[in-house]
Symmetry: C2
Subunit: 302 residues, 2 copies
């Protein structure tokens, strides 16, 4: 069985996002360490809890999906999602689409349901100024952007320090569907990236957050047989029991997760441990890493 276990010798964590201060300092402290070594040596202060006001729970029959919102990039969509959750807008709606190597989608922006305090449509939040962000740059070259990196644990690209910045379509990132009109999205329909990073979507649609827990449930939804992976029959859809804001759930019932901070030496070391694998199995270190291949560890709070 040892062969089986080593066939492709990596333990990929629930979501693949992380951070790297753009200095060479981390390389030395990470030398020879595997990701497991780095995580074992992490300090409690390297981790942050989730903000209940930026955390959504989507309850499906198979379990709870935990989504973290990123209001530094999509404040209007984050606010609208809080309002939609409070209006119980999603409760009773469904997973409507599962397209192989692309996205899984849920909700319905045309559902005849009360919106509460939410808006029917929002201006686009595709990009924002890079200035003002605590951007941790990745030195590795990228096919699509001048620079990639991380902001508060989310994968980000930017033109330059003074240019525009945007969230990146990595696996597990969640966005708000829209029509051809860039101002037609609202968050009432959401999608998650479930395949190879579709970076061509960057700057064309509003990303609102990412899945921290339960991605395995979403990514294995049977693929829809209709155009673009839409389910053709209502019974093929998985119902959404509810989507709630964590802040509206009693503290004792919240998912007690914490995320490795992306502005720490531990994270710098983690990225280096993934850029140049130290596991015995690897013979040729990659030497570089793509922003969407950097893991972002999530764990139960201690």
């Amino acid at each position: 069985m040892s062969k089986s276990l080593r066939v492709v010798a990596v333990a990929v964590l629930p979501l693949l996002l992380a951070s790297l201060p753009a200095s060479a300092a981390g390389k030395n402290s990470a030398a020879g360490k595997t990701m497991a070594d780095v995580l074992a040596a992490s300090k409690p202060s390297d981790w942050r809890p989730l903000d209940p006001n930026n955390t959504l729970y989507m309850d499906l029959p198979a379990g709870r999906i935990v989504i973290e919102l990123q209001p530094e990039f999509a404040p209007k969509h984050a606010a609208n999602l809080r309002a939609l959750a409070r209006a119980k807008y999603f409760d009773g709606l469904a997973i409507t689409r599962s397209q192989d190597n692309y996205v899984v989608q849920w909700g319905d922006s045309n559902a005849n349901k009360p919106l509460g305090e939410a808006k029917k449509a929002l201006p686009p939040e595709f990009i924002r100024p890079a200035a003002g962000l605590k951007f941790t740059a990745l030195p590795d070259p990228d096919t699509y952007a001048a620079q990639t990196g991380f902001v508060n644990g989310f994968p980000v690209a930017r033109e330059s320090e003074q240019g525009s910045a945007w969230l990146v379509h990595c696996y597990g990132m969640v966005g708000a569907g829209r029509d051809n009109d860039v101002g037609s999205g609202s968050g009432a329909e959401l999608y998650v990236v479930s395949g190879n990073a579709p970076r061509n979507l960057d700057r064309n649609i509003t990303l609102v957050g990412r899945v921290l827990q339960g991605m395995d449930v979403l990514s294995t939804m049977p693929r829809g047989k209709g155009a673009m992976g839409f389910y053709q029959k209502p019974e093929e859809r998985t119902p959404i029991t509810q989507i709630k804001l964590a802040a509206d759930v009693p503290a004792a019932e919240r998912a007690n997760l914490e995320v490795l901070k992306t502005d720490t030496q531990t994270f710098t070391d983690l990225v280096e441990s993934r850029r140049n694998r130290q596991d015995e199995w690897y013979k040729v270190p990659a030497g570089r890493i793509d922003v969407c291949n950097v893991p972002l560890p999530v764990r139960k709070a201690k």
Copy 2:
């Protein structure tokens, strides 16, 4: 429903691989064309049939998976897989692993079964000389390799024209598991990439081919709860009815597929149509494309 359909407006074909001659000529002929336009204008000579000697059928309860081998890069592994199929080695084995955003794996290199003409272990076929390959270069920059492109429809990277070349770990690519010893693989255990391209595996393991049909079945296998996504209980495994070489199946029973050739103007145009989307939905063209985001169209032969 129009909003739903346009949320992420692309029709991703079964597998995402393609080709681009390294000239600017294609850009002009592709200007303003969508991928659908390009495919509609393709000629019969732009497509090639599958070679039955390089095609495997893996039959699962949910249907047939079609795998194309690439003997230009892995001739020993391709020969061994033909021998293993003829020995009925895989028949009755199972899918043993499904790790989210990474790989799905099947077979068992330690199964106590007759090997027929197959070998128990093979030397590594991780790289080969670039010289001698009909390499169609992609001009777009890549994080991991000096150059990427395509060889006979497969995604490839190379150091230089005279350096080494290797198959790339894009979604849908199939490889042969190995132990820490680089010479321990045989093809008796196989994996397919089912998540964001794990390019760190490039040059560390032998890729043998790619899935042309049925990737949706493999990618939705329930994730294993054991370490690295291995199933913990035998009943969680999906049995493999059989793996056969297409050449050993009567012609009338073969999957009658054809693949768009990667050394054609049609393919050049297709890549450009994906690099800079012409669909009305897109507002900001990406301008560049990653080798693993280029689609490789597969269709029923006419």
